[in-house]
């Protein structure tokens, strides 16, 4: 809600008092020029090249770490007994979680008819796909012999060996591969009309050819639009359960084990909420610099940032409830093992991890996101998104490491120390993610032109408006 002093602000919708979803003054032509211009321009900004070089440099860590891993094996990592799961699983869960916001925005908010999603859904979907790519690397590398990674899939073979279907790690293979497939298809189908626009607007023959291929012969006929809308709704329907199911299955990786700290029934909803929480934080991390760099403030407005911050507040509170219930049940269970696990998590040698988690995931965001002033403070939100991303990484660190390194037998207690290869691999995936994302914003329309145009007043055909629309379109 706008304050009195903001009423004359053109970005405030006088009817609702909320920030406008898109700034006034846009028409079909200006939307096309603004978004397609980023892709079709021959003058690539120097900043983009700079970003790509930095991202490539960071991604080199990944190449080096993976090469050394292939040569030496997983022994170069910090995993050992009792801490048999370490950075690889932490990073896998963290990246998969980040992807969830893209699916939520593109699928669930579409079904809920939330028009504010239109400006951010495309790059959120791209974020999902690149995050899943990063996530997928870790389990494949963790199997020790990645070239035999296809053994994870159940296929008829001469050895008559099948995966253990009762293991959630096997369910992960199906959940994540389905998720990746549906996300890619949804993302691509959504871009087809925009590829058609790029094909028509492109000057260079190569661009015309490539976007022509990608647009699958899109002509914008009524029949095409009808099929497009139907396909979008069907894919949204397919993706919606995936938002819940993927991270639920990942929570089962831990929860079905009889290990204090993992075996807890709150995990499924709390993992899903945490995934959305971290995913929205990552969307903010990406959206804020991009809207600034490409001057997209009129398309990705404060309304989007405010709404995303509200979603973070809601999901963050569910996560906080989950933490609270874990602590409470550690006492209520009257189980020595549960109680010790929580005490060790809080005050053991790695207790610092727990308190960083509480500070970054709960104390800082959930006390400040109630303030509307802070929710629309772009700088603050950017910093907060980084803080929450850090917090969510620590959440997985705490779950994986502090539950494992002191198990039931004190004689087998150990510790966990990540090696430089663990760090390089993680940082390398950040580089790879940034590299892919920068390529995406340069080569594909980062904001869906067709959906933004649907929101323009001109689409509501009423007398003069209709004439204006036709004129401007021409």
């Amino acid at each position: 809600m706008a304050t009195k002093g903001q009423i004359s602000d053109p970005m405030i919708d006088p009817k609702t008092g909320e920030f406008a979803v898109i700034a006034p003054g846009h028409n079909f032509k200006s939307v096309t020029e603004k978004i397609a211009g980023v892709v079709l321009t021959s003058n690539t900004p120097l900043g983009w090249f700079f970003g790509l070089i930095v991202a490539s440099g960071v991604a080199t860590f990944l190449v080096i770490a993976v090469t050394w891993l292939f040569l030496k094996g997983v022994g170069i990592w910090g995993v050992t007994i009792p801490g048999a799961w370490g950075f690889a699983i932490i990073n896998f869960v963290w990246w998969i979680g980040i992807g969830h916001a893209g699916t939520l925005i593109s699928a669930i908010l579409l079904l809920f008819k939330q028009t504010w999603r239109n400006s951010i859904n495309r790059f959120a979907e791209a974020m999902t796909i690149f995050a899943v790519c990063c996530a997928g690397l870790f389990p494949v590398l963790h199997v020790g012999r990645p070239w035999l990674g296809y053994w994870l899939f159940p296929y008829p073979n001469t050895m008559n060996i099948w995966p253990q279907f009762r293991s959630p790690l096997c369910w992960d293979v199906f959940a994540v591969s389905t998720y990746a497939t549906i996300s890619v298809v949804f993302w691509y189908i959504g871009m087809v009309p925009d590829f058609g626009t790029l094909r028509d607007k492109a000057q260079s023959p190569l661009a015309k050819f490539v976007y022509g291929l990608l647009s699958l012969g899109w002509r914008g006929s009524t029949r095409h639009w009808m099929r497009y809308e139907t396909a979008s709704l069907l894919l949204a329907g397919l993706s919606t359960p995936l938002v819940l199911s993927v991270h639920t299955v990942i929570s089962f990786d831990f929860a079905v084990a009889a290990l204090p700290g993992w075996h807890t029934t709150i995990f499924p909803p709390y993992f899903v909420a945490g995934a959305i929480y971290s995913g929205f934080a990552m969307v903010l991390t990406l959206a804020i610099p991009i809207r600034k760099f490409y001057h997209m403030e009129d398309l990705v407005t404060l309304r989007h940032l405010d709404n995303m911050a509200k979603v973070m507040l809601g999901t963050g509170l569910i996560v906080a409830y989950g933490y609270g219930m874990e602590v409470f049940m550690a006492w209520y269970s009257a189980s020595h093992w549960e109680f010790f696990m929580m005490w060790n998590r809080m005050f053991g040698p790695m207790g610092w991890g727990y308190w960083i988690l509480i500070a970054t995931n709960i104390a800082i965001p959930l006390t400040t996101l109630w303030s509307r002033k802070l929710r629309v403070n772009v700088t603050y939100l950017f910093i907060l998104s980084l803080i929450v991303n850090t917090g969510m990484w620590f959440e997985r660190f705490v779950i994986v490491v502090t539950s494992l390194y002191r198990d039931f037998l004190p004689s087998s207690w150990g510790t966990y120390k990540a090696t430089k290869w663990d760090y390089m691999l993680y940082v390398g995936t950040l580089g790879m993610f940034s590299f892919l994302f920068l390529l995406f914003v340069r080569l594909a329309p980062m904001i869906p032109m067709n959906e933004i145009k649907m929101m323009l007043p001109q689409t509501k055909i009423k007398g003069l408006d209709a004439e204006t629309t036709i004129e401007e379109t021409a």
């Binding site: 929860a255 709150i266 995990f267 219930m325 209520y332 269970s333 009257a334």
Partner: protein, 440 residues
Amino acid sequence: MAHGHEQHGHGALTEPKTLPASLQAPEVVAAWRTRALIVAAVAAIASLLFLFAGGADHVMRGYLLGWMMTFSLCGGGLCLLMLQYVSGGKWGLLLRRPLEAMTRTLPLVIILLIPILVFAKKLYLWAAFPTFESVEEGLKSKLLTEAQAHALNFKRPMLSPVSVIVQMVVVFAIMGAFTYFLNKWSLEREADPERGSQGSYDRWRIKFENLSGIGVLIYCGLLTIVAIDFIMALDVTWYSSVWGLLFLVGQGYVVLAAAVHSSIRLAKYEPMATILRKTEQYDLGKFMLGFVMLNIYLAFAQFLIIWSGNVPEELPWYLNRIRGGWWVICTCDFIFHWVIPFVLLLSRDLKRSRSKMLALTGWMIFARGFDLFWLIEPNFPDAARNLHLSGNLSILAYITVPVAILGIWMAFYLTTLMSRPLVVVNDPHTEEILEPEHAH
């Protein structure tokens, strides 16, 4: 009698509707209240017969089920009321008065709790063995197992008669405060001298949002306490961290069904007939489908984790609910509570049909009660035997006692519903809801 769908000529298609002169609840509500009281009286007499025929245990267990249902409707009503203030949207406008009326049944819900606290020994080990000494004696006389004795002693700060009473005082005091302010402000909003202006809309919206946001949060904690104290603690050794959330969703399931049922029933008469459109009824149906799915999602996740964990401290809770005759109850619960509402709510036509939605929402209220039966009864050592009617007729108290309690609650609810106009006027959505349906 209008049904809110303008199919009587071109003029009716384009002109917004106007509200009737009287916005009070129709007189028929008084007749419904009388019927509720008659049903409650008959069910109470039957329950007394079971009580005097030696079925005190079942009467108390049935009473607990009935009380949990009334608490779900009252507390769940409060939570949903706050949720609609936070989320906004037209759907909340239709349910606001029924939900407010549900929240104002809080005094009755508190009074109805007293017998549970007084006769807690019949239900809870923490009440039957309230001290370390009594636990020691129970252990010696083999009335308690080692695990139960350990749990009772360990959890005494939370599970003891004094502690539970203190917790309930706090829970109901907080719920009472939220109920008081939300209901008081709702009346003041209607009496606002600037009503109908953007300034008035904004001022009240922010006020309600600010209270409701924190209210939903606090309520989640309060409900968790109640769900643990009165249902989870029936088996003092068992625990599940998703329990509170499961009950929260279960409350959403039943209270949404009850509120939609109320609105559709009231929409046979003015003024609800004017404001209940198929569009919003359809949206409410989708909302109900969401709760149905969320409910089974959490229930199944809890089952899968405990089943796969196969830990002796946890698994018997499910084994007691699956083995023997309980397999039939468990299957029925799955079908009643999830399969039937899920399959039916997938239908667009059903969600838009008033008569079918009335039947389905009624069914969902029953299904929630059935689910509570599955949650409550197997906690007791005589549960397996109790599934046979022969020589065990008092098990029917699980039907008569909740019906009696719900009948009394219903009469009180209808009384509170009649005390205010059914339609909220000073709300920006009121105007939208009066627009012809094809405009959306």
